[in-house]
Every structure is written in C-alpha cells, then in structure tokens.
Subunit: 396 residues, 2 copies
C-alpha cells in the first residue's frame, strides 16, 4: 500500500484496518466510502490544503509550502479515483494532482463517527483522592537516568496521575537537574532556574516563610502557570512542614457532578492573582478551573495567599463566594488530600496546573528545612514523551 509522505518524514504511521472502496463527487466534497461502510466527505479546500506532493510540501522540515489562499476560489475536482494500491487520487481543475493514503485520510476524517471515535480515544487523566496514597507512582532516580522506558513511564505517569515520587535522588545541591535534563530545558521564572525553599528573613513570598501554606498551584500570577514542578528534599529536620497534595481535577469533577452551579461559577469567574516585591509586579486573572475546547478540565489555578479582590458584578458576589468557599473547603477535606513527610533524597514531580500542594506550618527553630525546586512546562513533557514513544516503538 502506498504511504502518505508523512509516514516517511514524520515518524508517524497511519495504520488503518479499513480501505477505501469508492469515491464520489458531491458538491464541494469528495465522498469516500470505507470497507466498513462508513462514508466521509472531504471538502475540496481541505484536500487541496493537505496535498503533500513535492511542490506543496518541504520534506526536509516536514512543513507545508503551499498556502491555501493561492488555490483559485473556483477550484473544483476534475477527477477522483481509488488507485490500485489504495490511495485516493484527486485531479484538480487547475491541473494539479494530489494523492492521499487511506490511513492518513481515516486519521483526519471529519465525519461525525470518526470525530466521535477520536474524541473517545483522547488521553484522559486518572483522578485520585485521599485514599490514593498506596498507589502513588514511584520511580528510582537511577532507573530514570539509565533507562528510556522508565523515563517514558515516568512522564506518562506525570501526565496521567499528575503526581509522582522519584526516590534516591542524590542529596546534593542542584541534584534535581540531572533527571530533569533527561526531559528538556527548564521553565525559568523570576525566582530563578532553580528555587530554594527555606525560611528567609526578607521573604518575597509566603513560600519562603515558615507559615502554613494552604493548598495552591505555583505562580497563578502568570498567564501560563508552570506545567510540572519538581521539588527535591535536601534537609527536613524541622518539626512540622509536612507536604499535602490534592488532585484539583478530582475536586473539579466532584464539583461538576455534585454542585454544577458552583462548577459553572468557578469555570467562568476570573480570579485575580498578584505577587509583588521590590523588583517585580506580576498579575494575572483567570478562572480557578479552566476547561478545554472539549469541555474537559484542563487546569486548576489557585493560591489563596496570592489572590486579589474579585472583579465581578455586585449581584454575582454571593454565588461566587459560595463557590469559592466550597472549593477551599474541599481542598481541606480528607476525601481529597494525601499528606506526606518529605525525606532527603525524595523528589516530587507533579502537574502544577492540576495538583495543589500545601505545606503545614513548621518551627524553624526546631531544625533546618531545605527543598530545591524547578519547573518544566507541559509542552516539553509531552514532546519528550512522544519522541520516546517513537523510539521505543510504542503506539500513542
């Protein structure tokens, strides 16, 4: 069977169990029929746009050269056929010829059944609650360093579960950077490429004091909150300071199911978040729960200590505060949180746009406490995960 050029240059294989049995022209679409009797209409500009002949496409960079605005407005099908090797071959009214492999056509088919299949097959998070403790995905640092498959599984667990533990990370300054370097570059912030979490006298954030830090995501003050946070324990001798983790997606889904009005409020009301010191002044406003285009929960954004005044109509305030108070109360409910004491050498890696973390108050006079942290964005996690899947021969 012929292959779409992408199968060569693009590392992707468009396998399909179905072949094309027929093509008919109907208005501005070529309607194909599949061996499972499904029919798919492909609009003329969609097909022309996706031509991958050597004139339209630059194999070196796997990038499109043709711009669809250069097609004539009256572009029409001159011919359409299923070639002997199974490809759809279109002849155009301006003389151009395009061909499309059935596996590729099936992977982008815009008919309702095909789109529903792709929607159902989308990766979904595995949500968890306070009973999750025993099942936390854990990975040994040495295995992440040595074995691409373990690295791939770790990144998969971060994406699916949102919270992972890496054990036996060397207890030395910046030792967290070695496993992170297996992934990508860092997301730098004004707190540095690596930030040190310990009590300091001129704190520019409550994180750098010893007070109780209620469940929060880091840097909700930024348009894009850092995607994944790595938090490595070097010293933990102080009394108190236990770590708490909450699956914000679990709270969001519980709200959606049990308190839909509050869910609607929290997905639509912008919350203001601020962080200011003598050198910076960061501000951003966005809903505490963000949905993607499919209506799936994509992000949780919350830090009580960084919240500013809510800018909303007076008549909406009562409902907004009811929802906000419920959300805050849920982050404290044992139904949703797990609590751990970090030990030197432990490194938590968690989705900072999903998992809220908290720190109990500690007594800085009772002993030292020193963590180091860094961020990597979701884009880099997913890119690395896809490339590893490609190299490991995994279908994703």
């Amino acid at each position: 069977m012929a292959t779409h050029p992408d199968t060569v240059t693009d590392w992707r294989v468009f396998a399909t169990d179905h072949h094309l049995t027929h093509v008919a022209l109907a208005g501005d679409a070529a309607v194909v029929t599949w061996s499972d009797h499904r029919t798919t209409p492909f609009q003329r500009f969609f097909l022309r746009d996706n031509c991958t002949c050597a004139t339209c496409y630059l194999p070196l960079t796997r990038e499109q050269l043709f711009e669809v605005t250069d097609a004539p407005a009256d572009l029409a099908f001159a011919s359409a056929q299923i070639a002997p090797e199974g490809d759809l071959v279109i002849g155009w009214s301006d003389g151009h010829v395009s061909r499309y492999a059935p596996g590729w056509l099936r992977s982008v088919a815009p008919d309702a059944a095909s789109r529903a299949e792709r929607h159902a097959a989308r990766p979904r998070p595995s949500i968890w609650g306070g009973d999750h403790g025993g099942a936390l995905p854990a990975f040994a640092c040495a295995a992440i360093m040595a074995d691409d498959r373990v690295l791939w599984q770790w990144l998969g667990a971060i994406s699916t579960t949102g919270l992972t533990l890496v054990t036996e990370v060397p207890v030395s300054n910046h030792a967290l950077l070695a496993p992170i370097a297996r992934i990508s570059h860092l997301r730098e912030t004004n707190f540095g490429r690596v930030f040190d979490v310990r009590s300091k006298p001129q704190a520019d954030s409550a994180a750098y004091t010893s007070v109780n830090l209620p469940p929060h995501t880091d840097l909700p003050t930024r348009e894009l909150q850092p995607g994944v946070q790595f938090l490595h324990c070097l010293v933990n001798d102080a009394v108190g300071g236990e770590s708490v983790f909450v699956d914000g997606f679990a709270i969001a889904e519980a709200l959606r199911a049990e308190h839909p009005a509050d869910f609607a409020t929290l997905t639509t009301t912008p919350m203001a978040f601020w962080n200011r010191d003598d050198r910076t002044d960061y501000r951003w406003s966005a809903p505490a729960i963000a949905l993607d285009a499919q209506g799936d929960v994509a992000e949780v954004r919350f830090a009580n200590f960084l919240r500013g005044p809510i800018d909303a109509p007076a008549a909406a305030m009562a409902a907004i505060y009811a929802a906000l108070r419920r959300f805050q109360a849920m982050t404290r409910n044992p139904r949703f949180f797990i609590e751990r004491r970090l030990a030197p050498g432990d490194m938590w890696a968690f989705d900072n746009r999903r998992v809220l973390h908290a720190r109990r108050e500690f007594d800085p006079a009772s002993g030292a406490r020193h963590l180091q942290g860094a961020y990597v964005d979701r884009d880099e996690i997913l890119s690395r995960w896809r490339v590893l899947a490609r190299e490991l021969g995994e279908t994703v």
Copy 2:
C-alpha cells in the same frame, strides 16, 4: 486620611477624588454612598475576604493569611460606619473588625458604573497598517541601557504598538542579550536561549532554510506562544530576505468589522500546529484569533508552514476555509503589512502573539544572512514596566 495597608507595603496608591458620605446595611451587603452620589454594595464575604488587619494579612510578603472559607456561613455585619478619617469600618458578628480606605474601595467597587469606568480605562493596543512605516517607535540601544525612562517607554511601546526598532545594537555575538537583561530572564525554547537564524543544511524548521516564510507567529506549536521576540541583525548581505511585519490585531479588528462571520469562525475553530524533528514533537491546537474575557483580541496564532489538518465537522469546513483564505490574503495585503530590510545593528522587538513576521526568499549563494533571536514572555514585560512606573513615579 487613613490609608489601606496596601498603600504602605504594596507600592500602590489608591487615590480617589471621592469620599464616603454614608453606609447602610441591606441584606448581605454594606451599601456605601460616595460624595458623587454613586452607591456601591459590598457583599459581606467580599469585605471579610479583603480584610488587611495584622491577623488576616502578612505585610512582609503582602500576602493574605486569612482564608474566606474560615468565616462562619452566617457571618453578619454587627456594625458599619464611616470613621472620622474617612475609612469604612465594619464590625463583624464574630467580633472581628475590618477597615477599608475609600481609595481602595473605589478601586474595586463592583457596582455597574465603577466597573464600566475600569473597563473603559483598560489599556488598549494602538493598531496600525501598511501606512505605519514612518511612525515606528525606535529607540537607541545605548539609551535603553542607560536610562530607565527610555527603557520604560520602550516596553510601553512594545505593549501598545507591538512593534519597535532598537538601533545601534553592537554587531557582535549575543549582543542582543544586554538590552534584554534590562528587562528580565529569557523564555527558553528547544531552539535554545538564543537562536541563530541562517540557512542550514539539516533544517528543523523552514526558518532555517532560504525559502519564503509567509507571515507567521513563532512557536504556535506551544500552548503559550513566546510573548515578545527580539531579532537582531548581524549580517545581511544576501539578495532578498526582506522582513515583513503585519499587525495581526489590525487584521482581527478589520475582520470583526467587515466580515463578522469569518471573525467568529477564526475565534472559535481550533487550528492545529505541529513542529517535529528527530528530538522533539510539539503540537498545539487553538483558534487563530483568541479573545480575552472582555471580548478584546488578546492573541493571534498563525504559521501556515506549521499547520496540521483542521479537526472540525465536515459541514463546517467550507466556512472555515473561506475564513482562513481571507485571513491569509489579508496578511499579504499592502493595507496591512510593512516591509523593511534589516541592517546590521538593527534589533526588532515585537509582540510575537500579535505581530506576524515574514521573510522574503533569499539567495544564500549571493551573500551571508545571520540574525540572532530570543524571547521574553508578556508577563515579564508587564512586570518590569509596572516596577519602572513605580520607580519613575508614573501613574499607570
């Protein structure tokens, strides 16, 4: 007049020409009357949430300690009065006392008139078209390095106009980093902290070939496109390779006014963008035009050479392609673009989420062409701009 604690610790001054003349309790709100006869209802939890007494607020970090979920559900006003010095003083049913300066109250007032005033006063971009050339904001690199006011004006121009030219940047490797260091840290990407734009044999993007690069934003393949791009010319001896800039916000506003159906399509249809090489696989889908919560245009996202197949219902394809073809055609229309030839020492700084840039095809055999680029996100631009305003005594 007494001040809200924020005026001391927060570098912000809440000046108002209006004072409080009266407060009355009505249901769950304290309704204040202002000297200009405006009335504002402040809901009980809103006021309790924003108490900045020493128990509720940590002045060291300017961060809230109190969590509003800790207020009793039946929290009620016990008393409300205008203190002799002008503050609103609330006594609560649980014995707590809060006070609020009128300047602060006015700045967050949730009544319709106050919210409309704030909405009208929001910063708005200044859009431009092909006739813009003569008015391009330009700044000398030495002035940016030496003078905080020039730096502040430069950042303001980037935010307002989206496109600026910095002249007389030293023509040496990584010289662009000195003016950028006046702002903040960089946004690193897989192309490096600094990327070199020149033709290379194993190109991982069309940018690194000599082909015509149609108007595009950089890295639409990322959830957050880099905010501001700095592009510094070191060598430009090749024939061709002129630079083109298009104000994407001008196109968006023209579409909104002249072709509202296309505008609606482009603000709601996710476009897929891809970039893959042997080490990375980046993908993101989002509309070509993004609106913020107010309906203002917040972002343009487009690179034809990085586009993937559109995932949309078959019945929507004709309208989507009509809108896409119109958008592409507008980026080529002299009404919207300006064209410049970069000279060594020129550095363009532009909002990469607004201004599309293009490069004409060049002949690599005719001479060398070498640019260096880097990115800084909008968050950092705005934070630095606010801190400079604070230091320069500017009201923003």
